[in-house]
């Protein structure tokens, strides 16, 4: 990957604009859960008859 190294990585300007960080993405970390807890929860909500759900899920093409 020589080309990759040749390309100079421009630096971020976040130093200049830290204060301007709009309220985007600032509530993310509070929602972080351990994968295991997550998988427990997912086991609880997963469709009980997964095979049939998938089989019946047929869409018409769109756009």
């Amino acid at each position: 990957m020589a080309e990759r190294e040749q390309r100079r990585r421009p630096s971020s300007r976040s130093d200049e604009s830290d204060a301007e960080e709009i309220d985007a993405a600032n509530t993310g970390e509070e929602l972080k859960a351990e994968l295991d807890d997550l998988l427990d929860e997912i086991d609880g909500v997963l469709e009980s008859n997964a095979e049939e759900f998938v089989k019946n899920y047929v869409q018409k093409g769109g756009e």
């Binding site: 990957m1 080309e3 990759r4 390309r7 100079r8 990585r9 421009p10 630096s11 971020s12 300007r13 976040s14 200049e16 604009s17 301007e20 960080e21 709009i22 309220d23 985007a24 993405a25 600032n26 509530t27 993310g28 970390e29 929602l31 972080k32 859960a33 994968l35 295991d36 997550l38 998988l39 929860e41 997912i42 909500v45 997963l46 469709e47 997964a50 095979e51 759900f53 998938v54 089989k55 019946n56 899920y57 047929v58 869409q59 018409k60 093409g61 769109g62 756009e63």
Partner: protein, 497 residues
């Protein structure tokens, strides 16, 4: 100087009618939209298909006899007080956000669209017999070779040669997949098995067969040439982008819209990279989507090789130069522009050094972690139907079933902003005029579309108010006028139509 990147998103949602015997997706989609219109809106306002001819500026007193029968021939169509269009397209419920002036605003309206679909689904399900259920997914594929779109649109300068747009946007579209992809188990491209492509970055790459073209339903092109500006066609194009996924992650929607708006502004100003064209764009589109370890490099037309990351860094560097010269006014101002550049930099750095650090912001990376964990826990192959079910359920909009909303994805919007955007238009585009008129004079509006509205104020002929400038009719322009006018007749008098 580039034109302002007015932008929007159109999403076709997946729909399933459970336990209905002979399921009819057109009827199911109509039920969804009718449930919303009848349940939450004061009055149904139809869509005006005169919009198909935006060059015809019917300013003033116009007979309007062709409208009624034309509406009859189309499926359910409604205009909402937030300025959005909500309708049945093919066999899907589709919602087009109102015109927005920056990526963050549009991300809020995209999330509001989800909430509108959730409310519609819940309302419709109250009306269905016991045991039946309508289920909506925000995804782009059924896993069986059928795809439906999430399209973006951006206002571009008509004076820019279309060939330049094609040449300079295509490498970006191909490369941006690595931070825009919603992820998918398996491949729907002919001849590929789960063993070859167990998991890929995007939902859509499998379905693209051409570089440039007009089609959207078959032989889909990477750059779509539909030329419906829904605005003054002498001044503007509206780039209709079909090569994207519907994201559950707000951060991705924001980054997708924000970076693409900047790249299109760079193209308007002729400052986009010129040396990144891939030698085989359609093949490369898929290779990038299948390369989940981000290891591949691809041959460029100039004989060099570059990875998707290399290309994105080149566009990022050009964006820095462009913004030094022109500022961020045309993408929504310095706060938004600097934030997009910062997040663009950060997401590329993370993809390069530690992709797993993006599990809270990139759908395909969040999915990969989840799916691998699930696989190990239950000892499943990628091809197991339970894995496919998981991959559908990630996009399920039912609050008690959907996975994406319970895994801690970072937000761009707040609940308050989303709630407001469900009923109120963006203040900064003509959608403001459309939405406020619908809210204030619902009985006097016959139909509306992107670039005009048709009023019926009683004895006079129907009147069309043209709105060919996306940045006119904003809160600043018309709020006090609308507040002052008691009825539509007064409004039209004062508008001088």
């Amino acid at each position: 100087m580039a034109v302002h990147k007015v932008l929007g998103i159109e999403t076709e949602f997946g729909i399933l009618h459970r336990n209905d015997g002979e399921s009819n997706p057109v009827a199911a989609s109509s039920m969804i939209i009718n449930a919303y219109v009848n349940g939450f809106l004061e009055r149904r306002i139809g869509w005006d298909f005169e919009d198909e001819h935006p060059g015809v500026d019917a300013r003033g007193f116009n007979e309007f006899d062709a409208l009624a029968p034309e509406i009859e021939t189309h499926l359910v169509n409604a205009v909402l007080t937030n300025g959005a269009r909500y309708y049945v397209d093919h066999a899907h419920p589709e919602l087009s956000t109102p015109e927005c002036t920056d990526a963050k605003q549009c991300t809020i309206y995209d999330r509001a669209a989800e909430e509108i679909l959730i409310r519609s689904m819940e309302k419709a399900n109250e009306l269905l017999p016991d045991g039946e259920e309508l289920v909506i997914h925000k995804n782009n594929s059924d896993g069986k070779g059928n795809s439906y779109g999430c399209h973006e649109n951006y206002l571009v300068d008509r004076a820019v040669p279309f060939g330049r747009i094609v040449q300079q946007i295509m490498p970006f579209f191909i490369s941006r997949q690595i931070f825009c992809g919603a992820g998918k188990i398996g491949s729907e491209a002919p001849g590929l098995t789960h063993a070859e492509v167990p998991f890929q970055i995007t939902q859509r790459a499998d379905f693209f067969e051409e570089e440039v073209g007009l089609e959207t339903t078959l032989k889909r092109p990477i750059v779509n040439t539909r030329d419906e500006p829904h605005a003054d066609s002498k001044k503007y194009r509206r780039l209709h982008v079909i090569v994207g996924d519907a994201n559950m992650s707000e951060v991705q929607t924001y980054l997708k819209l924000g970076t693409t708006a900047i790249v299109l502004a760079m193209i308007d100003d002729d400052m986009a990279p010129n040396d990144c064209a891939f030698e085989t764009p359609v093949k490369t589109l898929r290779e990038v989507s299948y390369d989940i370890d981000l290891e591949m490099s691809h041959r460029l037309l100039n004989g060099q090789r570059a990875s998707a990351l290399d290309v994105l860094w080149a566009y990022y560097a050009a964006a820095q130069l462009w913004s030094d010269r022109y500022g961020f006014e045309v993408v929504g101002g310095d706060d938004i522009g600097n934030d997009i550049l910062r997040q663009w930099h950060d997401v590329l750095s993370a993809l390069e050094s530690d992709p797993d650090s993006l599990t809270d912001s990139i759908d395909w990376i969040a999915k990969r972690r989840l799916y691998k964990g699930f696989q190990e826990r239950h000892d499943l192959e990628w091809s197991d139907p339970r894995m496919a079910a998981l991959d559908l359920q990630y996009h399920d909009l039912r609050p008690d079933k959907g996975l994406a909303r319970r895994i801690g994805l970072a937000r761009v919007s707040t609940d308050e902003q989303v709630n407001n955007a469900i009923g109120s238009p963006p203040p900064t585009t003509r959608a403001y005029f459309r939405g406020r008129c619908l809210e204030r004079y619902p009985d006097a509006i016959v139909a509306a579309n992107w670039d005009s509205m048709v009023f019926d104020v009683g004895s006079d002929p129907l009147r069309r108010v043209p709105m060919l400038e996306p940045l006119r009719g904003t809160e600043v322009h018309v709020a006090s006028l609308l507040d002052e006018c008691e009825d539509a007749a007064e409004l039209l008098r004062r508008l001088g139509t």
